[in-house]
Every structure is written in structure tokens, then in C-alpha cells.
């Protein structure tokens, strides 16, 4: 059949309940996007132009004229580039090892590589301080003074943080390569190195590009690592923080925010293009590649991968270990002393974060599901701009979104002020911060849903609500579970978006860790981090368990 014939136009004249439902499905999440994403972004833009006597570019000239800003920009760009090169390089080695080589213990690498995602970004920095700081295990063992605060410390921390993303994205590209292509090359006499150069690299090209932009964005927008281990090495994210929190200069913060937005928007736009190009290569009936052992390649790849993993384990592990040490580094006996958090509030922010994360996860999953459900029934011309809007939040750094929220919701000008200082607002910002990833995941699920299923249900007399509950939801349930846990885990650890929104009465876990560290209570910060990691690990295991159960049930239903 030609593609043209299969195209569907939704029945325009269904003026009944279904049409109303479509409007509600699209309307509510759209209202949310406008109110909690578009509107705050407009506000932050306007505030960047606000001067004493109305609007003007005075803030920009002031910022662009200051050496501090240019130094931070230069640092951000250098740091972004260096981290990108390093994490994409290491990420490619690990992904290539996982998907293209044959050696034992891949499960270990797979497990270790996700560790940095379980913790707030500043945990990498904490770990490095425990390892390489003045009182670090390695510095003391070697008897040398390493200056870990600054460029090198930040580079390592950022690389560890970006690495999981690089491995996942490049791995996704490598796993797509069809075994038959390699068999054909083999028969034609291409050597393994030729196959790598002529087949693997070109096919992974867009994956690598995509990974590079994601790593770059993550790095220049990250706040946690920079705040803890950056030292004097100021970057744009810390610059915004010092403008807003240090100098209470919101308009200047807004300007820096807009400047930080520029590279991330460009980077995100290119990344989306790269992703589109990569998806073209997918085809049905693919024969998965099975790697066979290569005597030189595989031991080398395995040892490199394991080395990187050892680094990750060391950095995260030392934080857990240090949290139990009585008095680092003088009294190394173990105790639970640091789990008695002395900072005001104690563990209340941990419980609060769990509540907030549950809110963000359940509300967010429902919202993206409804949005995708409604979009499917809208004509293309109406659906496309909404899809674009829904995919936009990923381009906005957490710091900028957080700043936008405080400018929008801490103003008594609108009734939205009622939300300020509530847990709900933090749940909302967490959801919109990660809206794009959730939305795109569910969209992918919807794309895999055969039209014939909905049409069959339609012909049998099922309305939209019924089809959604009986047919669509069970079909994309694994995607919804993934999105739920993704939103939960990100909300548990995110720092940059919420750092401006916490109040003395309402804090979240990542901010508490930062405060503890600021107050010099590094061991308590480690203890608190360990608790967060425990919660997130439980969530991750629950997700894996749920998906595995669903997969097993589906295997019964559709044995391949």
C-alpha cells in the first residue's frame, strides 16, 4: 500500500464526547505547558530587559562589559568542550565494548555505568574530594598535595556525570547495526578494522554527534558539581547563582540565564536533527549483531571499560564509605554518627523530596499520556506546533527555568503567587524540567502502536476513552512505567532547577546536601547523599522489576 492511502484524517464531524475528550486531553497539558513553561520563560526574558526606567539593553551591556561574565563564559565553553570530548571518547569505548565486543562481565559494566544517575550531580564532586582532596585517601597515601578544586576536579566530576548519557546514546546507535551488513562485508573480504572504519563508525556518526551535544548541554548547565568542586573556576551556572542568591540581582541573573540559554538551544536543535537522521536508518526485521571474541580487541576494550567503571565505583563508593567513617581522615572507625543530621530540618527534606517526586512522577506521567493521546487525534497542522512546544523544555537549563519560576511565582501580580513556596510548585518545575524526555518516550510508544488496533476498536464500537483504557494504556504501559520512574528519579536528585525555589521551611534533598557541604559538614553531606542514593536505587530496581515482570507477561503473550 502506498503511504498516502494509509494516511488518516481524524473524523472532523465527531462532535460528540470524543471530540470534547480530545480537547480536554490536549487542552489541560497544553495549559500546563503555557503556564509553567512558556509564560515563565517570557517573564525571564522580559526581566533581562527590565531596567529602572522601563525596558532596555542596559543589563546586557553591563553583563557583556564585565570581565567576570566573559571569564565564566570562557570557562563554561572550555569545560563543556573538554567534558564532551572526554565523555564521548570514553562513552564510545564502553558502548563499543558492550554492544560490539565479546567478553564476560558486561552486566557489571551496565550496572556501574548508571550509578552517577542515581545521585545528585554534586556527589561526584564530593567523592573526588574524599579521594583526591587535601584529606583524600589517594592524596594521603601518595603524600602529595593535589589541587582538586578547579578545572581538573570539575572536568572529572562532569565527565563521570555525562558518561552514562554518552554510553546510552552511542550504545543505542551501535545496537541498531544489522548483522547481515557485517556478514556481507566479511564475505567481500573486509578486515575487522575496515569494517569498523567503513560500517561501524559511519553508522554511529549521528549517535556520536547526538551524544556530544547532550554531554555538552549537561555540562554547561550543571550546577551541583561546579558549586562543590569548581573552586575559583567560575562557570555560567555558578555565575547565575551568585548574581541571584549572592547579590540579589535578579535582572542580571536573567541576562546571564539568557546567555546560557543560547548555546543550549543551539546544541539542542542540532541534537534533535541528529536524532532524526539516525532514526531513518531503523528498519523492521533486523538481525541483531552477535559479536565473537577477538583476541586483541576484546581484552583491551574490556580492561578500558572496567578501568572507567572502577573509577565510577571509587568515586561513588567513597562517598558511601566516608558517610560511615567517624572522623575523616583521623578516626577511620565506622559509625552511624553522621546519619544524625544536625542541620535544621534533619531528614524532613528527604521525606519532602520523596513526596514531591511522587507528585511529579504521577502527575507528569498522566499529563504526557493525555497529551500524546489527544495529539494522535488532532490534525497534523495542529499537532505539530504543540509537539514542538512539548519538546522545548529540554533546551532550557535547570538554572534558567528555576530563575524563571522565582521571577514568575514570587510576584504578587498574579494569583499564581499562591503556588510560591509550596511543594506542588517544586513538583511542577521538576516535571517541566524533564518534560521533553517523558513526552518523547511516550510518543515513541504511541508510534509503535499499530493504527489497526485503534481502528479495530473504533469499528467494534469503542469510544476514545474506552480505547485509551482498554487498548492503548496496556500497550504502552512499559513506556508509562519508564516515564514514571524517570521523573521520580530525576526529581529526587535534581538541584539546578530547584535551588532557587527552596525556602527555609521547604527544602529538597539535593539542596540540603549542598547546604551541609557549604557548612563544612562534608561527612553529613555524604550520609545524606547515601540516603538519597538508596531511595533512588530502590526506585531503579522497582522500575527494572516492573518492566521485567511486564516483559515476562508479554513474552507469554507474544513469543518471538
Amino acid at each position: 500500500m502506498s503511504g498516502v492511502e494509509k494516511m488518516t484524517t481524524p473524523a472532523r464531524r465527531q462532535l460528540d464526547a470524543d471530540r470534547l475528550l480530545t480537547l480536554v486531553c490536549v487542552g489541560l497539558p497544553l495549559l500546563g505547558l503555557v503556564l509553567f513553561f512558556l509564560y515563565p520563560m517570557v517573564i525571564v526574558f522580559l526581566r533581562s530587559l527590565t531596567v529602572d526606567d522601563g525596558y532596555g539593553l542596559a543589563n546586557y551591556t553591563r553583563v557583556l562589559g564585565s570581565t567576570g561574565f566573559w571569564r565564566a563564559t570562557e570557562h563554561s565553553l572550555i569545560m563543556g568542550a573538554a567534558t564532551t570530548v572526554l565523555s564521548v571518547f570514553l562513552g564510545f569505548i564502553i558502548a563499543h565494548g558492550l554492544y560490539r565486543c565479546a567478553f564476560r562481565g558486561k552486566w557489571l559494566i551496565r550496572g556501574v555505568i548508571v550509578l552517577p544517575l542515581l545521585a545528585p550531580s554534586l556527589v561526584q564532586a564530593l567523592g573526588l574530594i574524599f579521594l583526591l582532596g587535601r584529606n583524600g585517601v589517594i592524596s594521603r597515601a601518595l603524600g602529595v598535595e593535589i589541587e582538586i578544586y578547579g578545572f581538573w576536579g570539575l572536568l572529572i566530576a562532569n565527565t563521570l556525570y555525562a558518561l552514562p548519557q554518552a554510553v546510552m546514546i552511542i550504545g543505542a546507535a551501535l545496537v541498531l547495526l544489522d548483522a547481515r551488513v557485517y556478514e556481507a562485508a566479511e564475505v567481500m573480504g573486509a578486515s575487522p578494522s575496515r569494517q569498523f572504519r567503513d560500517l561501524t563508525l559511519p553508522a554511529a556518526r549521528f549517535g556520536i554527534l547526538n551524544a556530544a551535544f547532550v554531554c555538552f548541554t549537561i555540562t554547561i548547565t550543571d550546577f551541583g558539581n561546579a558549586a562543590v568542586i569548581g573552586g575559583d573556576y567560575s562557570v555560567l551556572a555558578t555565575e547565575i547563582y551568585s548574581q541571584v542568591v549572592g547579590q540579589r540581582n535578579f535582572n542580571m541573573g536573567a541576562v546571564v540565564g539568557i546567555m546560557l540559554l543560547l548555546p543550549t538551544v543551539v546544541s539542542y536543535a542540532i541534537e534533535r536533527q541528529a536524532m532524526k537522521r539516525q532514526q531513518v536508518g531503523q528498519m523492521a526485521g533486523q538481525v541483531p549483531y552477535r559479536s565473537s571474541f577477538a583476541p586483541v580487541r576484546d581484552p583491551v576494550m574490556a580492561s578500558l571499560s572496567l578501568l572507567v567503571c572502577a573509577g565510577i565505583v571509587a568515586v561513588i563508593g567513597i562517598v558511601v564509605y566516608a558517610s560511615f567513617v567517624t572522623l575523616w581522615p583521623y578516626n577511620m572507625t565506622l559509625s552511624f554518627k553522621h546519619y544524625d543530621i544536625t542541620l535544621a530540618g534533619g531528614y524532613s527534606s528527604l521525606w519532602m523530596t520523596i513526596v514531591i517526586s511522587l507528585m511529579a512522577a504521577s502527575g507528569g506521567t498522566l499529563a504526557v499520556f493525555l497529551l500524546c493521546l489527544g495529539l494522535r487525534r488532532l490534525p497534523r497542522s495542529a499537532a505539530q506546533p504543540i509537539q514542538m512546544l512539548a519538546a522545548m523544555p529540554a533546551a532550557v537549563p535547570g538554572m534558567v527555568l528555576g530563575l524563571a519560576y522565582i521571577l514568575t511565582f514570587n510576584s504578587t501580580a498574579t494569583p499564581l503567587y499562591l503556588l510560591y513556596g509550596t511543594a506542588a510548585l517544586i513538583a511542577i518545575i521538576n516535571f517541566y524540567h524533564y518534560h521533553t524526555q517523558g513526552f518523547l518516550t511516550v510518543m515513541t510508544g504511541f508510534r509503535q502502536l499499530p493504527r489497526a488496533l485503534e481502528e479495530a476498536a473504533d469499528s467494534l464500537g469503542a469510544g476514545m476513552a474506552r480505547t485509551a483504557v482498554d487498548i492503548i494504556a496496556p500497550f504502552i504501559a512499559p513506556m508509562l512505567v519508564s516515564v514514571f520512574f524517570f521523573l521520580f528519579m530525576r526529581s529526587m536528585v535534581t538541584l539546578s532547577a530547584v535551588v532557587f525555589l527552596t525556602t527555609p521551611d521547604l527544602s529538597v534533598a539535593a539542596v540540603t546536601i549542598m547546604r551541609l557541604d557549604d557548612a563544612g559538614l562534608t561527612s553529613q553531606a555524604a550520609a545524606f547523599s547515601t540516603c538519597v542514593m538508596a531511595v533512588v536505587s530502590v526506585a531503579l530496581l522497582s522500575m527494572k522489576g516492573t518492566l521485567e515482570l511486564m516483559g515476562r507477561r508479554n513474552r507469554i503473550k507474544r513469543p518471538v
Binding site: 498516502v4 492511502e5 484524517t9 489497526a452 481502528e455 479495530a456 469499528s459 467494534l460 500497550f475 503473550k557
Partner: protein, 346 residues
């Protein structure tokens, strides 16, 4: 007429999928929409189902316009090419789904499910999931699901295309049997002329968004209206008037006249008589053995021809043969492809 489509037109952007199409389906009738990919047959079926909207024209069921009725209120049954069983429901739940929506009591649903599973000859699979069934079994269940609600019209969208040849033939007979015994007016879309010949009471042959010819399978095979239909309904020898007039003048009796280029003679390969003869009027170029028949390509005075013979025959390649064409074997058809680029008929 039971179901009538009148002057249906449908465009996708600048592409005209259907251009002023009118068709009719009678009570108990099995109608096949036949044509190559992109001819608009699926679009027409989807319009009737209510899954796509008309640009202009109307669809009437027993004289009542359907245009404003959404698919779910039309009460039609539909079977798609594949993958339309709900993967999260068992076979029984799939079949009973339409009735469940209509609020039928559970005992009645399970009685109906059992009855339908018997009808499609799969009584044992009620508790299985679609993924545990073969493609052919899945299509049987899809058929059972479609007829569970006593549909007013049964729509089949290439239901056999994704299946193996043997399963396809079996299921073809099954569909025929079910449709005959229940008497449901049925419209099936297919690009396989053999399928259409075997199943249909009436074939509607389409090309480029218009109906080229509608009639019984015999009509379309033996009395094609145009060169396209002749070509699409199996192998045919299409020869222009001049060589026929020269070599086989008795075939000119039914020639409709004209300057000569408007019509071509359509001669089916099995209707040409062939006897070995030293002084024959043709030479055998190649022979394909197809089991029940032999297909020979011969060079004759009117050009290369395909001839099919049943049973044993001793011809071999390069041999001289005598061809005989009885006058009733020749149909003159309008040459609708003369001014168009050649179609690739799969």
C-alpha cells in the same frame, strides 16, 4: 441496493486518491475491490468504514446517509491485513470485546465466543493470547471478532496478504464459507486477482482512483473492458488490429472499428490451440513446466504469444507448431494504457 457509494472523491494534499467513484453492494453479496497499489481501493474501504472522511459524495446504507456517523456507530466489522488483535487481551476477550462494549451479558458473550471459535475452526484457543497464534490463526480470530457483533457490512482490508501461500488458500475458503453461511454483505480489498476471482460475486477493478470495470469474475476475465483490466486479470496476449487482420481475419468479426489504435485483441493463453507441425505458423521459444500446465512462449506472425496447455505435450524448444485461435477466444478491449507509461503489474 444495500450499500451505495455515490460520486466519492477523496484527496490527500494534491494527490487524488479517489475521483468520483460510485459502487454498489447488494444484500448477501461478496464484492472485491481489485487493483494495484495506490489505486485507491483501501481509501475507499476506509471511507466506508468511517475511518477516513469524504471530500465529496455520499455513502448510503439502505438509503440512509452514513457520512456523519463515526466508525464506532456504523456497526461494521473490519479485518485488517495484520496486527489488529489486541495483544493484551486473550482470544476470547478479543472476540467478545464488541459485545462487551454493547453491554451484552457475560454468559451470552461466552456462548457467542464459543460458537464463533467453532465457526472459524479454532475451538481450543480461547484462553491464548494473539502472540501465541500463527498468522493464519490470528486472521481467523480477527474474522471472528469482526462478525461477533453481527455487522451490517463486513470489510476486509487485504486480510490474506501477510500469509503464506498455503494458509492463504485455506483461509480464502474459510472466508468464503463464513460469508456464504451468514450472508453478510462483504467488501474485500485485494491486489491479488486470483483471490478476487475465487471469492467474489462481483469484482470492482480500480486504477488511478477510478473504477475501470465492475462485473462478475467471468465478465472481468473473459470480457475485460480495457487493456488494463485484461492485463490485471491474469496473463493475456494483447495484439493490435493490423497483424490480426492479416493473419487471423476471422477474429475481426467483433472488431468495434475505428482507426485501429483504440482497441487491441485480448486472447487468453489457455484458449489458443497448439499442435506440432513442420509447416506450422509459429516457433516455440521457451517452455516453463508449471505442474498442472505448461506455459510456452512462441514466436508467431502476430508477434510473441504466451500459450498454456494442459496435460502431456511433446513440444520442445525450437520446434515448429501450428496455432489456432477460435473466434470466441478473442475479445477486443479499449487500449487505455496506450497513452500512459506502462504499469508495473506485480
Amino acid at each position: 441496493m444495500y450499500l451505495t457509494v455515490r460520486n466519492a472523491t477523496k484527496t490527500f494534499g494534491s494527490f487524488k486518491a479517489l475521483d468520483n467513484v460510485s459502487i454498489e453492494i447488494d444484500r448477501r453479496e461478496f464484492v472485491c475491490l481489485l487493483g494495484p497499489s495506490g489505486c485507491g481501493k483501501t481509501t475507499l474501504l476506509r471511507l466506508i468504514a468511517g475511518l477516513t472522511e469524504l471530500n465529496s459524495g455520499e455513502i448510503l446504507l439502505e438509503g440512509t446517509a452514513l457520512s456523519n456517523l463515526p466508525a464506532r456507530k456504523r456497526g461494521f466489522g473490519i479485518v485488517f491485513q495484520s496486527y489488529s488483535l489486541f495483544p493484551n487481551m486473550t482470544v476470547a476477550e478479543n472476540i467478545g470485546y464488541g459485545q462487551k462494549i454493547r453491554g451484552t451479558p457475560r454468559s451470552e458473550i461466552s456462548r457467542r465466543v464459543t460458537e464463533l471459535l467453532e465457526l472459524v475452526k479454532l475451538p481450543q484457543v480461547a484462553g491464548k493470547f494473539p502472540g501465541q497464534l500463527s498468522g493464519g490463526q490470528q486472521q481467523r480470530i480477527a474474522l471472528a471478532r469482526a462478525i461477533a457483533v453481527d455487522p451490517r457490512v463486513l470489510l476486509l482490508d487485504e486480510p490474506l496478504s501477510a500469509l503464506d501461500a498455503k494458509v492463504r488458500a485455506e483461509l480464502r475458503d474459510e472466508i468464503r464459507h463464513v460469508q456464504r453461511s451468514l450472508g453478510i454483505p462483504t467488501l474485500m480489498v485485494t491486489h491479488d486477482q486470483e483471490e478476487a476471482l475465487a471469492l467474489a460475486d462481483k469484482i470492482i477493478c480500480m486504477n488511478h482512483g477510478v473504477v475501470v470495470q465492475a462485473g462478475t469474475p467471468e465478465d472481468l476475465y473473459h470480457r475485460p473492458a480495457t487493456r488494463f483490466v485484461a492485463d490485471f486479470m491474469g496473463i493475456s496476449n494483447l495484439v493490435s488490429a493490423d497483424p490480426i487482420r492479416r493473419e487471423f481475419p476471422d477474429l475481426m468479426a467483433k472488431w468495434p472499428g475505428g482507426a485501429g489504435a483504440e482497441h487491441v485483441a485480448c486472447i487468453r493463453p489457455e484458449q489458443i490451440g497448439l499442435t506440432p507441425a513442420q509447416d506450422g505458423n509459429a516457433t516455440v521459444r521457451s517452455i516453463s513446466f508449471l505442474g498442472n500446465l505448461r506455459r510456452l512462449e512462441v514466436d508467431s506472425a502476430i508477434g510473441p504469444l504466451v500459450v498454456e496447455t494442459h496435460g502431456y505435450n511433446s513440444c520442445h524448444e525450437g520446434e515448429r507448431v501450428n496455432l489456432s485461435i477460435p473466434p470466441e477466444a478473442c475479445t477486443w478491449v479499449a487500449d487505455d494504457l496506450a497513452h500512459q507509461p506502462a504499469e508495473t503489474a506485480a
